[in-house]
Symmetry: none
Subunit: 407 residues, 2 copies
Amino acid sequence: MRIEIINTGTELLLGSTRNTHGSWIGQELVKLGLRVQRQTTVPDGVAIEDALAEATKRSDAVIVTGGLGPTSDDVTREAAAKVLGVELMEDEAALRALRKFFEVRKKPMVDANLKQAQNLVGADVLANHNGTAPGIYAPPRLGGEPSCAVFLLPGPPRELYPLFHEEVVPRLRALGGVEVIDQVQELKFVGIGESEFQDQLDADLAKVAGLEVGYCARLGELDLRLIGQERAIAIGRNLAEEKFAEFLVCDDGASLEAVVVRTLAKAGKTLATAESCTGGMIASRVTDVSGASEVFTHGFITYADDAKVNLIGVSHETLANYGAVSEEVAGEMAQGALRVSGADIAVSVTGIAGPTGGTEEKPVGTVCLGLATREGVETFRELHPRSRKDFKLQVSQRALDLVRRVL
Amino acid sequence: MRIEIINTGTELLLGSTRNTHGSWIGQELVKLGLRVQRQTTVPDGVAIEDALAEATKRSDAVIVTGGLGPTSDDVTREAAAKVLGVELMEDEAALRALRKFFEVRKKPMVDANLKQAQNLVGADVLANHNGTAPGIYAPPRLGGEPSCAVFLLPGPPRELYPLFHEEVVPRLRALGGVEVIDQVQELKFVGIGESEFQDQLDADLAKVAGLEVGYCARLGELDLRLIGQERAIAIGRNLAEEKFAEFLVCDDGASLEAVVVRTLAKAGKTLATAESCTGGMIASRVTDVSGASEVFTHGFITYADDAKVNLIGVSHETLANYGAVSEEVAGEMAQGALRVSGADIAVSVTGIAGPTGGTEEKPVGTVCLGLATREGVETFRELHPRSRKDFKLQVSQRALDLVRRVL
């Protein structure tokens, strides 16, 4: 099946917003055993019409993102109606859903939103539970010859992603016929890099018959993707576990923080955090997980020295003797957080996020971590010279992984 | 001048590599007053030929990235020769540069590299000091009718970026002639939605001669993009400010947290945070900003009731009488954080992120916020029924905006 993506949005061509839809949809389609043949970005406005007309001639399915909003530059619906040669009409169910969306939020619905209830005659409305713009699916017969299916989807990722899974995937499967589809397993590893996999595992995986192997490296973690029939995947997984079992976080796509929360819950333990350089990111990641309140009660963001002393009892002497970024201070932070909160485990971080504040002895990227339990405290010193945001993410990753490992 | 970009690379369509060239080139062109009209991604191989043939018919200049390497899937040179109807021949200077590249690195040059010294007859070779693939520039006369300039550029960013600045920019300037170039201004608004703009402003903006208007809505914020000559932009901006001045956060693309940090620094004030439902996200956003340590010292993550009582002195009575999610508790949290930290401003949030924990009186999405200063405390109660992560983001947005407004 030949599939194209059209992303609309002047901001994408100006470069002020990066186009992430293209690669996201590409990845999702790979999981279905499908591939994107072409991706096109056009500005808001009439250009969408040309692009859509061309794409429907070449392809079996075209997925358009963006341009379904209430403002004057949102013209995807109109463009699709022209290209497919059908009328737009108000869809009653879509209008009801729209009114309800505003009702629940106790906000007035303005006339501009009305056009978001317009649908192409003969097309399906795809319910959007996270925004005002429903998607639209025009099945192949609407496209005339050559026959092509058209999906119109909202641009914001928080609306696009769930709608894609709920409404687009089943329709693509149906369109694609009854192909035998390989399974996909993704194993998430933390604390080990792509080069180690390349070096110690890749050649062995390549020898497994019927197994397609892919890697997706993110900051501080690596997904190993195994595609194939059940048996080939099992062999590949065994090979990976033999080498790197201690780094394997999960096989169900869960985030590291979700794994930490569910492991804490299972063990009946609670966690406290004491953060300096990450400024709350560790706690924020933990509380992204539903059910975090069962295992997380107290977080301390001790950005200033004063805060370290007053909130979690780091001693003036330790600060004066070793400096705020030291294993000694990290240790006292973790122990203090454990004591004040009454939690079972406390993790602490103190470091130099940069871009300023580094010294020869402690350059930008230096971080000290502490892990306290009832049994005692362990400390670590590491160097992660990265941009400020990446440094925070990498350090929060390390801190969460320390908690996972102690469990 | 009508410009298109074609990015080649199967990995871009599989989604395993994100396409960053499109937005990077888009931004560089905006700096020159030029705009990309269309961006297309095609897989390695023959598809590049179709895409290039179409683009040269529509445009004045086409920039192609990738497919200039030594391997069999690198066919951009051959595709361009076919589309432009010219031969390929070995370029002596390019071959010398290639030999030198390997000599300096003390690596052997293999036969596969020889094709990288091939140039289109009549085209310029663009020296690549950071890799083996020189760029190629085919000026308009080569393209026949309709006349179009074609740039072939290497894919790796460390090769593309310098080559673009050194070789492409001067040629585009020359091609572009002396056009009067439009400016772009982006105004960021927080606390007001796209529909309000559509309803109260869009029609007025549409009447401004020579002004192009665009919107980009993100969760809890909206960018208004004005494109045109200085005068038209000024008129558009005035219209927007007349209606929505209090919601205008910045005109330089800064994030809300960056605006909060620099406004605090300018006022010489410090901030503390007391977070329940956002679990540290507000503080983490503040500390994403370089220089945050000047204005932010203490953050309290009081996820459990105990933490609210012990760390920032919320009273047992208030918790018992009104519940943890109440304006009363939010007020005491903000005042407590102000007192314990000694900061000038403290902001607090307590709410029900969901998906569980809602009641009829306080459904999922309910949040209470507090803002304390030396002058007193204000509290707010709002409803943001969203997914857990979106709820946290939206609430952190509201909290930061409260701080911005009090300044």
